[in-house]
């Protein structure tokens, strides 16, 4: 817990890491000053892009004592304002799951290699990033905790599958290999409450270590304080639940 007499300092900057296929991709890194050891969190940004909001989330996690790293998952596609880049990615059907998974793995590997790491790495994502972190938790073994926030299209019908998203993420449920915290708004339309129910039931049936929290007055993206969909009490409680979860699982 932060108290006012404590010294605090963070360093935040854009760096470059080698992602999928060895490609150089821009990455935002925020870390507490000092030798550590600190736990770490990889952030998978939402489909609106590698934007200011995700930089703020990254710095917020560093403020709370985490090495925090947010790769630009659209770095190969284009550069411009986050909205212009995201609009181009949207028109192109998103980015491929394989590419994103490789980039998230590279970010985890990089941050675990820092001398101030305690060796534990979690992953957090919202919207399409929520979907990506669930996929990462199933397909990779480098994460010690997963925070999935309102992941859309975790459950996909056959007609939604594409070359870039060829498999419905819930097909991998049995492979999830880290504890998972899920935060969802009951007013959300993607995922719908019914889809969240199904997701939770499948995880429980597979015997996974999960903790789901549902917010009756929240819709999609209720952490997004720059948008009308922000829901204050749900967001405050969600952040609290998330920091408690990460504190336990990454100690």
């Amino acid at each position: 817990m932060y108290t006012t007499e404590q010294y605090e300092g963070i360093i935040a900057e854009t760096i470059t890491i080698n992602g999928t296929g060895g490609d150089a991709i821009h990455t935002y890194l925020a870390r507490p000053m000092g030798p550590g050891p600190f736990p770490a969190v990889v952030l998978a940004h939402h489909l609106p892009g590698w934007d200011e909001l995700y930089r703020e989330f990254t710095r917020k996690l560093a403020h709370h004592g985490y090495l925090a790293i947010s790769p630009d998952l659209y770095c190969r596609e284009a550069h411009g304002t986050p909205e212009d880049v995201a609009a181009a990615v949207r028109a192109d059907g998103g980015v491929s799951d394989d590419q994103v998974i490789g980039d998230l793995e590279a970010a985890a590997k990089y941050i675990r290699s820092l001398p101030s790491s305690n060796g534990k790495v979690g992953i957090f994502g919202t919207c399409s990033g929520g979907r990506h972190v669930f996929l990462a938790g199933c397909r990779l073994d480098c994460f010690d905790a997963i925070v999935e926030c309102w992941g859309g299209n975790v459950i996909m019908s056959d007609d939604q599958l594409t070359d870039k998203q060829p498999v419905s993420p819930n097909s991998y449920t049995k492979d999830l290999n880290a504890p998972l915290l899920g935060l969802f708004g009951d007013l959300d339309q993607s995922p719908t409450p019914e889809q969240v129910n199904q997701h939770e039931e499948e995880l429980k049936a597979a015997g996974k270590d999960i903790e789901f929290h549902r917010y009756p007055e929240a819709g999609h993206g209720f952490f997004y304080f720059d948008r009308p969909i922000y829901h204050q009490s749900s967001a405050v409680d969600g952040w609290s639940k998330m920091l408690t979860f990460l504190g336990k699982k990454l100690a």
Partner: protein, 92 residues
């Protein structure tokens, strides 16, 4: 974003973006989260010329009802214009 519903159509014409007019190449029409409009989902139209970079974009984000009204209005204006024998579309 989360729906991944996007239709694309090649375009001829011009659009005025933040750096002035540019030749149109494509219209991308998505039913997904808007960036700015205050709904969870909207009908988003991006008029773009990607060959000039992602910044060559004119964006509108509409409610579904507004989008339908726009489509009907376009069709009505086209109907009147194409019915008028005095009007010929040609490159000047």
């Amino acid at each position: 974003m989360c729906t991944m519903i996007c239709e694309r159509a090649e375009m001829e014409g011009s659009a005025k973006g933040r750096d002035g007019w540019f030749p149109l190449e494509m219209a991308n029409v998505s039913y997904d989260h808007p960036f700015n409009a205050p709904w969870e989902y909207g009908l988003n139209i991006d008029f773009v010329n990607q060959s000039q970079g992602v910044g060559s974009r004119v964006a509108v984000e509409l409610s579904p009802q507004s989008a339908k009204r726009l489509a009907e209005t376009i069709m009505e204006a086209l109907k009147r214009g194409e019915a008028d024998p005095q009007i010929k579309v040609s490159i000047l």
